[in-house]
């Protein structure tokens, strides 16, 4: 594969290869003092972040550095990115620099697809608008597999602002590719028209879907959505769709709670849930590193692939 633009770019075999490779990366670095591999020496990875996302940017930066790639980061602030240079001109600049891979985060859906049409190197979607965030889905799947031992047949409930969530879109695609059964739960205002074509079950009732879930993934809900009448108040939202200790008690013994971060404690997730032993939120961060190393390795660690 040349690019990672969408979780749909990965069939079952390719997705499993990423997860397996991430596990091997973990093993290769386990217990090391110097967490560095020479694998991508001489390769250049450009992080192009049009949107502030410290967590994702650092994760990709560290992943590339651990593989000994040269890393250049353009952030929204203080680069031509913020001075109105067009995406296409930026792409041509990256091309001239000899970027082997461009990791792009953008506020507009589809921007990585456009970039992929203009650069020779590989493009990795690090989150585009309300579209997708495939490496987040990969790290989520990795975390589920590590905690629960499998993905096939796993029942995953994704709760929250599905309409605006790139995490939800990528997870739905990837998890269904890997054989999990996904339910999305949200107020009807926060589900896209057309969700009925997704390979998921749709529910408006969180309490009903909790007892059968192996995984509950809480999505971030921005308080500002209230002003656009997606829900009447944060209080009502968190009463109906927030995960608190009472609701957590309805979960099966083995069930885990995930959140892509950053969390709105008290809104979609209560502090005691976020800090409980079911919570994988900290693991998700470290797994993100392994998964991103795996993705960079699989895109750049071999002979060049024709587009």
């Amino acid at each position: 594969m040349k690019h990672l633009l969408s979780a749909a770019d990965l069939d079952r075999e390719a997705a499993t290869l990423v997860l397996d490779t991430a596990a091997q990366m973990d093993a290769a670095l386990a217990g090391r003092e110097v967490k560095k591999l020479p694998t991508l020496r001489g390769r250049t990875v450009v992080n192009l972040f049009y949107e502030d996302s410290t967590r994702t940017r650092i994760s990709f930066e560290l992943a590339a550095k651990r593989l000994s790639a040269d890393v250049i980061t353009f952030s929204a602030k203080g680069s031509s990115v913020s001075k109105g240079e067009s995406l296409k001109d930026t792409a041509l600049t990256l091309e001239a620099m000899g970027a082997d891979a461009v990791v792009v985060r953008h506020s507009m859906s589809g921007a990585p697809h456009r970039l992929a049409q203009w650069v020779r190197g590989s493009v990795v979607n690090a989150g585009d608008g309300t579209h997708e965030h495939p490496t987040q889905a990969l790290l989520d799947a990795f975390t589920m597999r590590a905690r629960l031992g499998r993905l096939e047949g796993l029942r995953v409930t994704i709760v929250g602002d599905v309409l605006h969530s790139r995490v939800a879109r990528s997870n739905v695609l990837l998890l269904s590719t890997l054989g999990a059964e996904v339910t999305v739960v949200a107020p009807p205002t926060l589900l896209p028209v057309g969700v009925d074509a997704w390979p998921v079950e749709v529910s408006f009732d969180l309490d009903q879907s909790l007892p059968k879930a192996d995984v509950v993934m809480m999505l971030r809900v921005q308080r500002e959505r209230m002003s656009a009448s997606y829900f009447p108040s944060p209080r009502e939202y968190s009463r109906r769709y927030g995960l608190d200790a009472t609701r957590m008690a309805m979960l099966a013994e083995h069930a885990i709670v995930m959140h892509p971060g950053p969390m709105n404690r008290g809104m979609e997730i209560a502090a005691e849930v976020a800090d409980s032993v079911r919570s994988t939120i900290v693991e998700q961060v470290s797994n993100g590193l392994s998964v991103r190393m795996a993705v960079l390795y699989l895109l750049l660690g071999g002979a060049e692939v024709a587009a």
Partner: protein, 193 residues
């Protein structure tokens, strides 16, 4: 993103010339086990590190034979060298294989690297780099079932099962029952290399 298939894929139209049959292969492994025992004072403070895929299998076999001969338990580790190779860009991306540190680690021990075929020496070079990240061994030695020549680096083996002169366009395949369903060493010519 798919990785290159393992080299155990079907041989196609290539011609296959046997070099060692199952019995000869077993005798060769036995001899190597004896040599290692002899040169390491009974495998004292020694670990075997196999390079996947078949080097790892051979390391396990050698350890089993050493236990049979002298009752010693030699720790076995597995070391994938892929991430340390300097020739990754010459081929489609390779799937990674497992890495397992031997019980007790490698620091201050004698490490015997085990691989099936010694050819250019690049795998061994990558293994030496990878090994350095695992710890600081007292010494590193190399055991290979087949040395087929054509070295590209100043590397030689301490234990060689069989020297087999080959032409560069030929391939030497070590087939092991655990991986390939049969035990033999063969030369392939005329097939895809």
């Amino acid at each position: 993103m798919g990785a290159a298939p393992d080299s155990s894929d079907p041989l196609g139209s290539a011609t296959r010339r046997p070099l060692l049959d199952a019995d000869a292969l077993a005798r060769t492994v036995d001899r190597m086990a004896h040599q290692i025992l002899e040169k390491t004072a009974g495998a004292h403070n020694t670990v075997l590190i196999g390079i996947p895929t078949r080097g790892a299998t051979l390391a396990r076999r050698l350890a089993a034979r050493m236990r049979a001969f002298e009752g010693v338990d030699v720790p076995v580790g597995i070391l994938d060298t892929t991430l340390y190779r300097d020739d990754l860009r010459l081929r489609a991306v390779r799937a990674l294989e497992e890495t397992t540190e031997p019980p007790g680690g490698i620091t201050d021990r004698l490490v015997v690297l085990v691989d099936d075929v010694l050819y250019s020496g690049r795998t061994v070079r990558a293994a030496l780099d990878a090994l350095r990240e695992l710890g600081r061994p007292r010494a590193v030695q190399l055991a290979v079932l087949v040395d087929r020549g054509h070295r590209e680096l100043p590397i030689r083996a301490d234990f060689v099962g069989k020297n087999i002169p080959t032409a560069p366009e030929e391939q030497v395949r070590v087939l092991l029952a655990e991986v390939d369903g049969e035990n033999a060493v063969v030369i392939i010519s005329g097939g895809p290399s």
